[in-house]
């Protein structure tokens, strides 16, 4: 791996992982898709020489969609109890502590959630725009609206 790509990897792995965790809610799946995405992205980068974070997120989104499609196909095998690894346990605890935020996020529309989980993860608007096929101006407005909507939901719950 080139020095440049190593830097990119270090900068983006947590952002991508957080996004995937949010999207899939599963530690193992997120890890696998993260690995797959960086690998594919790196191969692509080899031809491009310009490192595009948006491309990384696009690859990851598509991989997740593919995975879900696959999962639906084999959904019948439901009797298996998934093993809870130590990491997953921590994740569950973290989830419970912030479950209110999590639940509220779950009630946002898919596109609002996408946008907000990228923004909260620290991905630049420019990259969010490129990933989701929107203009930067549009992202500005929609990220904010999603935040306000979320706050509304959480306030309503308290009352």
């Amino acid at each position: 791996m080139s020095e440049e790509y190593r830097k990119f990897y270090d900068e983006y792995k947590n952002k991508l992982f957080s996004y995937l965790i949010y999207k899939s809610g599963d530690y193992e799946i997120s890890r696998d898709i993260m690995q797959e995405s960086f690998t594919r992205h790196f191969q692509h980068y080899g031809h491009d020489t310009i490192i595009s974070p948006a491309l990384l997120f696009t690859i990851a989104r598509n991989a997740l969609v593919d995975f879900r499609r696959q999962e639906k196909k084999f959904h019948i095998a439901e009797g298996v109890v998934p093993q809870v690894a130590a990491d997953q346990e921590n994740l569950l605890i973290a989830k419970e502590e912030n479950s209110r935020a999590y639940d509220a996020m779950g009630r946002l529309s898919e596109s609002d959630r996408d946008m907000l989980s990228l923004a909260v993860g620290g991905v630049a608007y420019k990259e969010i725009a490129a990933t989701l096929g929107l203009s930067v101006a549009n992202v500005k407005v929609r990220v904010h609206r999603a935040r306000v909507k979320l706050r509304q939901m959480m306030n309503d719950e308290v009352e």
Partner: protein, 192 residues
């Protein structure tokens, strides 16, 4: 200008927008309360969302072989691997690239992209254009300019020219070099 709050949270404000934001916060109490409320919410959100990723091995030729060996066979193999490593690297991506070099033509299409808002013209000049200026084309309306050029394999020096006068090395390329005229050129290695 409500969304300035989110831009503030996401570190997306320009200097002018920072001034606007501060003035809004100062002038309007509800605006300030919104800003603080959303920041509090952000603390909860980022605590629940932002995870530390486990390290994964990229499936490059090196990375794919290393974890497999070390995991299953431990130190003995690790020691052997040290001996093997020079051979593995010699068969790694470098030799693939060399193979491609022989098989494929020696020019490569390379896409140059630069982000420059509020400019009338961006050009590129470099060793691959014989230092003639070639204009870039605006890509969309977000201030991106781009051009794809056919470039011979090898090392090249180039720079962007903004509005016909200002030289600007490529911000996406780390390697730069001062030229004889006091500005910087970016260095690009094109591998066929």
């Amino acid at each position: 200008m409500e969304y300035l709050i989110s831009m503030y949270i996401d570190n997306e404000l320009s200097l002018d927008e920072k001034i606007d934001f501060l003035e809004y916060v100062h002038d309007s109490k509800p605006y300030k309360e919104d800003a603080v409320g959303l920041l509090e919410q952000e603390k909860v959100l980022s605590a629940s969302l932002n995870m530390t990723a486990p390290d994964v091995a990229l499936k490059t030729p090196h990375a794919r072989i290393l974890p497999l060996f070390t995991r299953s066979l431990g130190w003995a193999v690790a020691a052997c691997l040290l001996l093997l490593f020079p051979f593995m690297t010699s068969q790694g991506p470098d030799s693939e690239i060399q193979n491609q070099l022989i098989a494929e033509p020696t020019t490569v299409m390379h896409r140059f992209v630069i982000h420059r808002q509020d400019t009338q013209m961006v050009e590129i000049t470099g060793s691959f254009t014989d230092w003639r200026s070639v204009p870039l084309v605006p890509s969309g309306t977000n201030g991106y300019w781009e051009i794809s050029l056919e470039i011979p394999a090898g090392e090249h020096r180039y720079t962007f020219i903004v509005d016909g006068s200002r030289f600007l090395p490529d911000p996406t390329v780390v390697t730069q070099e001062l030229d004889d005229f006091g500005s910087s050129n970016s260095i690009l290695k094109v591998e066929a």
